[in-house]
Symmetry: D2
Subunit: 284 residues, 4 copies
């Protein structure tokens, strides 16, 4: 919506005058503030996301960081700057299930996702026709226990070469190793097919069926070294009952997964998420 805006994320220990100092900085250089959100947690931390119009802003985009640096130092901030005009480049990793892949592509084409899908990477050939139909490069890297480390290196090289900004695991059935995770820190989004932290690990629908829950869930989260333990971005649930077999749960879950993954990816692409510790602050 705001084609040309700058977005500043920051966190620091709460002190008086932070909001005013930042808004003053922006206004002093003729920036019109579009959104300004804050959050305080109970440990005394302060978090902020502020977005302003870059039209008429007196500082060039590439100079903002150095201009802002003194304020950041003064308040000992963790911070980052993004631009709404930056259109993140996405790689989608997928195995055989195609429902999340289709959903991401279709939402992207419908203008719901601010991204260029630069490539689809898979350990199987199954989804290649989809890539061809939508004219997206498709790379197939079969993975075995022996080749995994080597294959991941190739994948990293490929994604780095194409300047990939965000990696989406769209029901990708391989556990990523540290090297891949570290290559894209806080840039890998996964969909787990349960309401985390319930049913971590393999076959969550089987676990849910066997426990007799009355709702099943899906969770999109950033990938960290701890399996299914990364910061949660979005979650939702759908009602099930005793009539539903495991395959009914899989079917209901499929439609939940594609929705919850899309929500998580959208929030990331719209520059709305600040990760702090193992939690997300979603300024939405």
């Amino acid at each position: 919506m705001n084609k040309e805006s700058a977005i500043l994320f920051l966190s620091c220990i709460d002190r008086k005058g932070i909001v005013a100092e930042i808004t003053h900085f922006i206004t002093m250089y003729e920036g019109n503030i579009l959104n300004c959100d804050q959050h305080y947690d109970e440990s005394g931390m302060f978090f902020m996301r502020v977005e302003w119009d870059m039209n008429d802003f007196a500082i060039l985009p590439e100079k903002i960081e150095s201009a802002f640096e003194p304020i950041a130092v003064k308040f000992e901030m963790d911070w980052r700057l993004e631009f709404s005009s930056d259109r993140p480049k996405m790689a989608i990793l997928v195995s055989k299930y195609d429902h999340c892949l289709y959903e991401l592509i279709l939402r992207s084409r419908a203008g719901e996702l601010n991204t260029d899908i630069k490539m689809i990477i898979s350990n199987h050939e199954d989804c290649r026709p989809i890539a061809e139909y939508f004219d997206i490069p498709y790379y197939c890297f079969p993975v075995t226990k022996e080749t995994k480390a080597e294959v991941e290196k190739e994948e990293i090289a490929l994604m780095k070469k194409e300047k990939i900004d965000v990696v989406v695991l769209a029901r990708y059935m391989q556990i990523l190793s540290s090297q891949l995770i570290e290559a894209f820190p806080r840039k890998i989004i996964n969909i787990h097919h349960s309401f985390l932290p319930a049913f971590v690990g393999a076959k969550p629908y089987h676990q849910a069926f066997s426990r007799g829950v009355k709702l099943i869930g899906a969770t999109s989260h950033y990938v960290t070294e701890d399996l299914d333990q990364g910061p949660i971005i979005a979650q939702d649930v759908v009602r099930v009952n005793h009539k539903n077999s495991v395959s009914d749960l899989v079917e209901k879950g499929r439609n939940l997964e594609k929705s919850v993954l899309s929500q998580g990816v959208r929030l990331h692409l719209e520059h709305k998420i600040l990760v702090f510790g193992n939690k997300t602050i979603v300024f939405d």
Copy 2:
């Protein structure tokens, strides 16, 4: 949560520098900004809710309005100022159904609602024992077509005398006349037992049953002269099916009504609502 804070609501035509000017005003007088929310609509209007800590604030509460006046004039703002320490005084109007009445009293006692329930007014005696148990003054004003205008005058006088700030219609089965509505502008909250604008008017559950809808709803809204047409604050729905009779809808609806009314009342009491035209901006 913030015992001593000031909350400024404003709306005006959008121009550059509003946010900065306001945050500068607050900070200049040593106010620590706690929350700052903005909204822009597509017609070019700007809306803001900003809350700051009154501890250390250099201007006395009663002097803030005149200190802020020049800024308001400059930007041609509509604005109002509230204080979190102001605990609104509530009157609850009720007829015979007691579920919303109980919910409001119990949530208030549990600390969920920032209010003093000063009185219960009814056109029936049925709820008097509840008032007595919870030690709340109960006033019974039987209403007939002939006496209605006169009775409302007495009710207004009573509420004005007790400095009532917010009037909650907790399934009150009388249509208020203009004089009462005008006496408490944007301070009367009603619960309508449908998903407005569907099923306006009488017997919405019967209407819903007869239309065969698969969800029923409830809506809390400010009361205006147009029946069931005032600004909507909160809405929710619950699933129904062909097995449900009208009386099942009434039962399911009862639990929805008490929840949706409480949500609407809570948002009002927490100073989170800005009404513009016939819509609410809920800064939550």
Copy 3:
């Protein structure tokens, strides 16, 4: 799931012994009852859906109707018989928006919808590539006020020739005339992009925006002569707030529409719906 089962739907005035008579009929001929659902409404009507395994059933499928006739006559039943092995043939009517079309095709291919999509009919060329990719015949019939009656006749002829069992309006932007509706009675399913009966007719998202509702909905229903007044099959809602523009509602609504339409179509294809008057009984 039950590849070879018979499904009997019936309605009649409630009397003692109906369930027993029907279950006795089925068992007498060696049918194993798989599901047996009843419903009674308050006007004294009885409704039933009973499904039994056709393996070992002593009556041939084509002879069941005449064998059952005496019971139907005795209780003055309205009734119909369906077979789970009958795979309904679907025609999808679409204009330019492709999200519902994709959803139906993808769910069908994923095995969620028990149907053969035999054709896509449109008044525009836009969706032809989708049809080609998925290898479904695509017929484009441009419609003008003058040609509408003639075009519909051709469409009816085409669908009758292909023995279409169910017609799905997947955001088809033409109002059907009586001749088309009558040609496929209770076999045309539409998605309306509001929570009916709120916001009947054109531009429901604009209506919802302008009323300031806090939830938007979608409704799948059978098409009757009265626009947006047919029996409701499925409904759902999604939360919106003041930040959402009309185009945000359109986007959120798009994902709701595809889900609610799919639910409605699935229930129809799984032989779970009995229409009585202007309401549906969904045996699910």
Copy 4:
């Protein structure tokens, strides 16, 4: 609704003719079948709940069991018989939080719960005024580690003496020992304040806060020897976000708990639940 009906629950290995045999049994003795639900699981088990009108039924209530016995033996059924006219006698166990207690009492008085609340048992005096206001006997049994076994014996004796049919733990902050659980098998319903199996045990809201989930839940379930592991009856969730402190979760959770506990209790009281293994079949 059906004042005088019998309800038969049964489970056995699936075989042809069960439904017909049972419906024939009922009809042979002039019973009008009101509801007949079945369920098959994938291991080949058959489950049934059938309800019939006792008016005109030729067998006296106390004779039905022996009349039905031969069928039960033939199919090797687990079965039980209940009567809608049996109004279960309830004991509510509560500690200090009163929100679930109020909800159960108020819903019971509103006619939503088919029960007589015969007593409230607590380990604290806090809720006594509520009991007095609603005229329900209140028994206070302070519990210490040393006295626990002895106290439970007294509680069991008291509940047995009053012929208690169902025990509801309305946020009762004591873990029941085996003797109490065994004294009321499948008759004790608890509310756990999380979406089980996530956040088993103490302080689930703190656990949820610390994990950063985007939804919190509540679960009503039958109490078994394994803490928070019993058969789940009902579950629901509510959305939370980073702004919510632990105490906000507690508040949101409170309203969820009272709703989910009431749902679970209602299903039990309406004779709609069949427990099989560690799961519930809810015929609703």
